[in-house]
Amino acid sequence: MKREVRFLKRGSRLVIFVGCLFLATSNIAVRAAGKEGGYAGTKDQGHDEVVYNFLKHFSYEQYYYARTFQFGDYNNQRVDAMDIAIFAGHGNQWFISTTDGGVDLSSVGSSLNWGWGDNNAEFVVFESCDVVPSPIEVSDWWTKWVQEPGGSFDGLHQALGFRTLSWQSTDQDITDDFGGRVRNNSGVWECWFDAINNQGRSDEMGSAVMYPPADGDTYYNFVADPPYNHQNLRVWYQY
């Protein structure tokens, strides 16, 4: 009996060892739990609830009213300290409006802390109008994400948002739907589009830019971080 138990223990150690070896040699990283952060762009227009409806699906780390330093000079302690960060508030192409001013997302890579992904972040989500333009809006849809210096992609896997308007009557439902799907390990950008289809208006269209090998990432299973200075980008967009 003891011998059998010992054999089983050895067997389970072997399985764990082989599993670790597989993960170490593959390009897949796995995590049991991550860090989630949410940032509300206004104090009086319900954006806190839009953020909270995502965060409530996790035991989140950060839930703040949005300020510019969280995305720029101190992003290593805020957005880039998280594994997934969500912003809800007003926006425009590569631009978000926080409670203390606007952030030009094409310049955050020039901040003290560089862009996002050099520290920790894999996914950043914008529940805002127009922040992630697609080839329909601008033929050069990639440069402002990956330009050096300035681009916010410094190791980031995916940035999700809308290429169109995002309406306030649906935004709190979209983030709620999305949060549950991310938590259940669905593909990240794929379930962003599912959430928009499931909760959004017929004129709300999502857009997602990503490092191509990270197309297929889930929150808990994802590829190794991209280099900070790549120019390799993919966009998926609804129209």
Partner: protein, 363 residues
């Protein structure tokens, strides 16, 4: 003379400083500029036709059993050749829902609400990620025709008199490669139906959304279309027109407190479908709010960006409404959110090296 010069060096800056401080104090204490609300001609004053308004309640029925839901998942999988397996231990506990997934393709999902029968089915997107167009994608007209064919075959076609073709669009993929070359690929066509009841548009949850792929084959389906029964609303159940008008104005001012101006485009009577098994009459308010936001980083520091922010909301017209309206906020969300201050970087928080393959991301 020397003493006068010294005293000038002292009193000139002192006077300027005091004057600046006074200006700042006056500026800070100025009364807030009232937000101007403009109503376009399309935003007609509320005047309810009190004799003709209806409200709807979901027809009572037993919830789906797990076996019925599983059979539905199998039927859709078989129809679309998707592979889905019941997820018995999802990351998040599901309330009256079943979830089916595919371990090899994390985009594949069947998620069904047992109480309402509403579901989201995504057959999986892994096969569409190659650098190529999806073959033989249907045209818009053909897609709309094929969508109703699929729904009929699956016996999921809602009553024709409730169906409105809302949108035919799709999903595409673009690439920018390291060598600077770019490509665009057509991937899927999407057909969306919205709902109409008693001559009014139903806004909110009701919808049928189909994703079509090669040759018009079905790749995804969302169906949220609870059968309902209607009844005429008694005039005394409705709020007075002026009360509704007041609630619209109050809501706009509450949400657009920091806007420079608000332009109201529509204040239409619609049916609102948002929870609690009802589809009830409501006013859909659509406006543009204008904000001026200073850029705080990068090359454009100090530049003022004018944001024309679209705004829409729903407001009840029933005195005893049952749907969940956007203005009914979750107090927990506001209770938990925190104000934030920048904290100086500590050494350990300076940019870390990239995560290498197989390495666990810092948690």
């Amino acid at each position: 003379m020397f003493s006068i010069l010294i005293s000038r060096r002292v009193w000139v800056p002192a006077v300027l400083t005091v004057a600046s401080l006074l200006c700042l104090m006056v500026y800070a204490q100025r009364p807030e500029k009232p937000v101007l609300i403009h109503y376009l001609a399309s935003a007609k004053p509320v005047h309810l036709d009190r004799e003709r308004i209806q409200t709807f309640v979901a027809k009572p029925g037993p919830p789906l059993s797990e076996e019925e839901a599983t059979r539905l998942a199998e039927r859709l999988s078989s129809y679309t050749k998707a592979t889905l397996v019941r997820q018995k231990d999802p990351g998040e506990k599901l309330d009256s829902r079943l979830l089916f997934q595919n371990q090899k393709d994390p985009s594949a999902t069947f998620d069904i609400n047992l109480r309402t029968g509403e579901f989201l089915f995504n057959g999986g997107l892994a096969q569409y990620k190659k650098e190529e167009d999806t073959g033989r994608l249907p045209s818009s007209e053909e897609a709309a025709r094929l969508a109703s064919v699929h729904l009929e075959k699956l016996t999921m076609l809602p009553p024709q008199n409730e169906l409105v073709l809302a949108h035919v669009g799709g999903v595409n993929m673009g690439l920018h490669r390291p060598d600077g070359s770019t490509s665009l690929y057509r991937k899927l066509v999407v057909v969306r139906y919205d709902r109409t009841l008693a001559g009014l548009p139903v806004l909110g949850d009701s919808r049928v959304v189909l994703r079509l792929a090669e040759g018009g084959s079905l790749a995804g389906l969302i169906r949220r279309w609870s059968p309902v029964e209607g009844r005429k609303v008694q005039p005394e159940e409705l709020l007075a027109d002026d009360v509704i008008e007041k609630s619209i104005k109050e809501r706009l001012l509450a949400e657009g407190r920091t806007a420079t101006s608000i332009v109201v485009k529509f204040t239409d009577l619609v049916l609102y479908d948002h929870g609690n098994g009802v589809i009830e009459p409501a006013i859909h308010v659509v406006a543009d709010m204008h904000f001026e936001v200073p850029v705080m980083n990068g090359r454009s520091v100090g530049e003022i960006r004018r944001l024309d922010v679209p705004y829409d909301t729903f407001l009840p017209v029933l005195k005893n409404y049952k749907a969940k309206y956007p203005f009914m906020r979750n107090p927990e969300a506001t209770k938990r959110v925190q104000s934030d201050q920048p904290v100086p970087l500590k050494e350990r928080e300076t940019p870390a090296s990239e995560t290498t393959a197989g390495e666990k991301s810092p948690d």
